[in-house]
Amino acid sequence: MIQFDKVTKKYGDKVALDELTLKIKSGAIFGFLGHNGAGKSTTLKSLVSIIEPTSGTITVDGLDLATQRHAVKEKIAYVPDIPDIFMQLTANEYWSLIIAAYSLDAEAVAARRQELLDLFEMAAHQYETLASFSHGMRQKTIIIGALLPDPDIWVLDEPLQGLDPQAAFDLKEMMKAHAAKGKTVIFSTHVLDTAQQLCDELAILKQGEMIYNGSVADLLAAHPQESLETIYLQMVGRQSAEGHLVADLNGEQHE
């Protein structure tokens, strides 16, 4: 289980994440929803050790991230939102680096690696540099890298951006399959359909604050007449799609 306890991240006076308190159960697919700047990436980057929270604690399976960082990192694999990393390396060289970083036995993961290469149709490109790849191919390269250690927790920041429909479908199936093995999948997205399709549970963030945490089913049940899109837009400060004015602009409170 992952636990965020009053996690706050400030950049000067700006509060990017405001006392986030949250529990994510093992074996679940958990989604973070929110507009740009809502705090989704900050939350994920805090969990994967890229950002140091200003205050609060994060624990993963009872391990305190601040004091047992290495042990926590070994449980997590991360796919960033912008896959423009390690452009100088070939895909093969990048995966070798990941294998070494997670102290994996190259021979033991060879079959898994081949399976992923075939699935993402990357076998023919493994000796090409990431610089020569399209956005989608870089994304696939990094996803393969993240799955090589078969992580307990798989964290993906906007993972479906730039993927072709087949690869997007395959990735969603893999996320489901990963969770079905009892492992945790955490991701952020703007796409409500994806959240509805995949999430066992979700958190909706607005300007660094969590304004909803629960299952999609519970959310829909609470508003039986409305679509997830309408509910979401109302929650993050806009009215439903029927053409009403933006609540934040006129300062009115809409129920």
Binding site: K73, P80, T90, L97, A100, A101, A131
Partner: protein, 531 residues
């Protein structure tokens, strides 16, 4: 109307390209609040003042030389400026046509190729001419000393200079565009560019070395050297333009330019635009199939070495860090003015050790590899933090490589110094140890500085070099440390001649204390904090 529009487009495109030729200078002027026309004017002023300074320096040097009597020295000066011109032109053409990566942006706009290329050629000329402008003085001095009346000598010098510039530009274009057409360049863009820029720099340094050697005794008792035959037609053309040899020289010059233009027209121009747009949109991809090293350390080493294949970084390291000490050393050693071969190991070993430290100071600055290795990671550095890798270990691997390179560069310079000023082998070993000592602590300082001023989202390598204090601070630090270093060496050497035992004991104690204090400081303030 159309021609007016074209002129306007040409002017705007020239201004855009002017900002690309030296991004570092542009950034610096922007920080000073310069924008629009004021920025363009300031950029142009930079080149004009460079040209004037060059003319003043070389003009003054050449006043005492009668090139008519010394064709050998004339040809060596021509060789020097050909090298300078070609080096500058290759670098400018590469930066303007390839590094600028602006061509895809022009594609959807209603611009003609003519304006686009003309603007680029104008800016290349603006970048190159200041460096070869002293040629006008050389040409004029030769004609004048040969007895041609001043107005005609000026006219002749200007015409030949224009032809000369055209030949330099055409030859450089052929080198750059010819190379970029090859499969080797397309498959190994970084390596090929580094080779191209690095080799031209080396050629230039060798050229300066030889020219200095040949012309170092120029003066009242000058004895001419053997002329470089390849440039003799130019000598005849300027000395006796209407003689048979002079006309032949003119013919050769025009024919050479004609051949170069013909080759460019036939071989380069037809698919230049396609070649450039492809190159501008290419992200530097390639294929690499090889046996990978196993284990994290060799893999990180391999990755870090890939980061260093940044052509502009290599170019800057060579030009900023290495040129000054090398030229300094070469000038020093000319004619065997300094000969240290008779010095014994005792009592001079310590002085040479400190000399090695001073040498390390001269070649380690914010432009060095070690001072930029962390920021070269770009977004990778953020991703690395998400991996189960100790940041301490990751950065130590980086530091090790950076330090090793600094020590190696220092060792190469020390070896050249040993050759030039005849340092005995055992004292050379002490110099090398001093280089290692100095490089270790200076690499630490600049590595930690890179960590402190970390810049992951740079788009142009020059942004890394302009971090922290400006160029004035850099010059101040470098100049100050060099003066202090030279003073330390001179002071130490003087002390050794008086009290060899005490001077060496005191120096050893100081160096040990400094090493202890710095090691402790870097451990406590940096490495331990990473854990």
């Amino acid at each position: 109307m159309v021609s007016n529009m074209n002129k306007r487009q040409l002017s705007v495109l020239t201004q855009v390209n002017l900002r690309l030729i030296s991004p570092q200078v542009t950034d610096k002027l922007r920080k000073k609040g310069k924008a629009g026309k004021r920025l363009t004017k300031s950029l142009l002023n930079q080149y004009i003042s460079s040209g004037l300074i060059f003319i003043l320096i070389y003009g003054f040097l050449m006043l005492s030389l009668d090139f008519h009597k010394f064709p050998g020295i004339f040809t060596y000066y021509v060789a020097l400026f050909v090298l300078l011109g070609v080096t500058q032109a290759i670098s400018a053409i590469y930066n303007i046509f390839f590094e600028g990566a602006d061509l895809p942006g022009y594609l959807p706009l209603p611009l003609r190729n003519l304006e686009i290329f003309l603007a680029k050629i104008i800016v290349v000329l603006i970048g190159v001419i200041p460096f070869i402008l002293p040629m006008v003085i050389i040409f004029f001095m030769l004609s004048w000393r040969a007895g041609i009346v001043i107005p005609l000598a000026v006219l002749l010098a200007l015409v030949i200079f224009i032809l000369f510039t055209a030949v330099v530009l055409a030859a450089s274009s052929l080198v750059v565009f010819g190379l970029t057409k090859t499969k080797f360049f397309q498959q190994h863009k970084e390596t090929a560019t580094s080779l191209l820029l690095g080799l031209t720099m080396i050629f230039m340094m060798v050229g300066i070395f030889f020219t200095n050697m040949k012309s170092s005794s120029a003066g009242a008792n000058t004895i001419d050297t053997k002329p470089l035959q390849i440039f003799m037609p130019l000598y005849h053309l300027l000395a006796q333009p209407l003689s048979g040899a002079g006309l032949l020289g003119f013919g050769i010059f025009v024919a050479l330019l004609g051949i170069l233009i013909l080759v460019i027209r036939q071989w380069i121009l037809p698919d230049l635009f396609t070649q450039l747009t492809q190159s501008n949109t290419d992200m530097g991809g390639g294929t690499r199939k090889h046996r990978l090293p196993s284990g994290l350390r060799p893999l990180l080493g391999f990755y870090n070495r890939q980061l260093l294949k940044e052509p502009n970084l290599i170019m800057q390291v060579i030009s900023t860090t290495l040129m000054a000490p090398l030229i300094f050393l070469m000038s020093f050693g000319l004619g065997g003015r300094i000969n240290l071969s008779r010095l014994s190991f005792y009592p001079w070993f310590g002085v040479f050790f400190v000399g090695g430290i001073v040498l390390a100071t001269m070649i380690t600055d914010k432009v060095s590899f070690v001072a930029n290795l962390i920021s070269l990671d770009k977004q990778n550095y953020e991703f690395i933090q998400a991996l189960p890798l100790s940041l301490n270990r990751y950065l130590r691997e980086k530091f090790r490589l950076g330090f090793l390179i600094q020590a190696l560069i220092g060792a190469v310079v020390a070896l050249i110094a040993a050759f030039v000023v005849h340092i005995p082998p055992l004292l050379l070993v002490m110099t090398l140890l001093g280089v290692v000592y100095g490089a270790y602590y200076l690499s630490h300082y600049y590595f930690i500085r890179d960590f402190r001023l970390h810049l992951p989202d740079w788009t142009n390598i020059n942004q890394l070099f302009s971090r922290g204090g400006g160029n004035f601070a850099l010059v101040l630090v470098l100049g100050g440390s060099m003066i202090l270093g030279v003073l330390a060496v001179v002071g130490y050497a003087s002390a050794v001649t008086v009290q060899p035992i005490w001077a060496n004991v005191i120096a050893a104690v100081i160096l040990l204390i400094v090493a202890g204090v710095l090691s402790r400081y870097f451990q406590r303030s940096f490495w331990r904090r990473l854990d």
